[in-house]
Amino acid sequence: MDFGPHLLLAVLEGAVGAAVLALTALGLSLVFGVMRVVNVAHGEFFMLGAVVAWFVATSIGGHPAVGFVAALALAPLIAALVAVLVDRLILKPVKYDPEATIVGTIGVLYILQQTALMTYGPEARPVEPPFSHRIALPWFEWGENGFAMFYPWGLSTNSYKLFVIGAAIVILLAFWLIMTRSKAGLIMRATQLDRETALAFGIPVSRVYSIVFGLGAGLAALAAVLIVPIQQAHYLMGHDPLLLSFIVVIIGGLGSIRGTVLAAVLIGMSDGIISVFLSPTLAKIIATLLVALVLVFRPQGLFGKKPA
């Protein structure tokens, strides 16, 4: 295959990665933005979503779409409930002290990971996609017979992957509408801006924190449900999303939602494209170092505003 079709495939793969990453990182960014809590266990909520999706999808028989839809509804809910519990039992008692919450969420990370290992097991298991059609992609070329369109062998994608991209866009739009147009969004933004004043205006800040923490975990779990038909569920799968989400949230500017989405697209796409053409490990080393340097030399992130 030529370079062009190869690149097209890489871009499509990258777009799927970017879509899932945007949702996961959005959860992390929301929690950091509103609560100033670095949730080190965020990747484990992602893993929890995938594992629950597998349990739900396999215990419901019939057409794979039925199980998938059930998982789509249940997995984020369960992850959110666990997160609310974590907030109530650990984060609230330590009064959201930055260092204590980091240590506490590291503990939660280990607990969730090991619980998954003991109940779900060490195997990687797939969830059947609700639908999956091979879609051949056309390619245009200016050849000896003039302009021609043809279908090169192997240049194809899968309808489910296109669905993932579409679903992520819909969820992101819905999230944006909620944050900017609804009262719940207003309350969250108010709490983010000034906790004390929000309290003075009668906003139940502690309940808002619980809901935000649950929402953050739910977003990660939702992203995981979307990706399991492509990637399989595994008890260690939370590691990469966590690091990538950190990267995205930093590049996008801590707590900035628009920056997070832009950065997710940037990182997801380049990760997909670079790993097709270069060694994936080398690509990761370069990306990790670059991000660390961004944080060193521009702590507010590429799209963030300087703190006043």
């Binding site: 650990i90 590291i106 503990g107 990370l109 607990i111 080393i285 990790t288 991000v291 030399f297």
Partner: protein, 314 residues
Amino acid sequence: MSIGTRSTLLHLGLIALLFVLAFVLPSYHQGNLARIMVLATYAIGYNVLFGYTGLLSLGHAMFFGAGMYGLGLAMQHGGLGVIPAFAVGLICAAVLSAVVALLALRTIGVAFMIVTLMFAQAGYLTVLYFGAWTRGDEGFVIAQSARQIAGLDLTAPTTRYLAALLLFSAALLITARMMQVSFGSVLIGVRENEERTRMLGYDVFRHKLAAVIISGTISGAAGAGYAVLFGYVGATFTSVQYSIFPLLWVLLGGAGTTIGPLVGTLFMFYLIDYSSGLTNAYMLIAGVVLVLLTLFARAGLVGEIRKRWVAWLP
């Protein structure tokens, strides 16, 4: 008795006790304690930065790994003896910590934690990338015949124990002494109130830089010691998990206490050792301990003892 004398007596007494234990303990526990002392050296290194200077790093596995791979590769591919290879390990850790410190210290708080985590992740991936030399995840074994110093066989249990004790004692006495002189007080000043320390005329950046280098070098010494005493070098030791362990040990024992790192490592090691009869879920135990510490004993075991009963504990 002045506090300084009491601390010195405590440290020397602890070392004497550990020395006597070498000849008393059954071989199983002797082996465990040798390993615990090397890991406690790592925790002591971590404590310099986290406990005394108040900087939360999640990247110390790269310093541990620098010492380990510095020594391991020098012995495996460079054919060096134990002592020069140990020096190579120390130099690797010192240089790496200086470079990382110069960059990472430009950030504070959460950003410092994430930057160190990123650098360590890059280090871990580098070990995997150069799999031809490092053998990646699988790691490599340092031959028993190479692990000798002037006819002393470091693989013999008692010799190994005493070598581990030597490493541990050096780290303990160096850091304890460091905290008795003004340098240590400035570090604590940085932890308690960075602005005020700067206002008093101390160069905060240089003190932090020195703290990272000392901390990284001690961690590297522990890594090199681990490689030579237990004969194995592997990528697992540079993974995020090995950055979290010293945090766990130090918190458990008591951050900012001299003997806390040993107490924490000892406690955690035997907690997992005994409970592994009931469950093989050592991560679950580590997680629960971390959560309980966060909630109920932020000062750690030694820290709580100091707070409640023995105020002079160093």
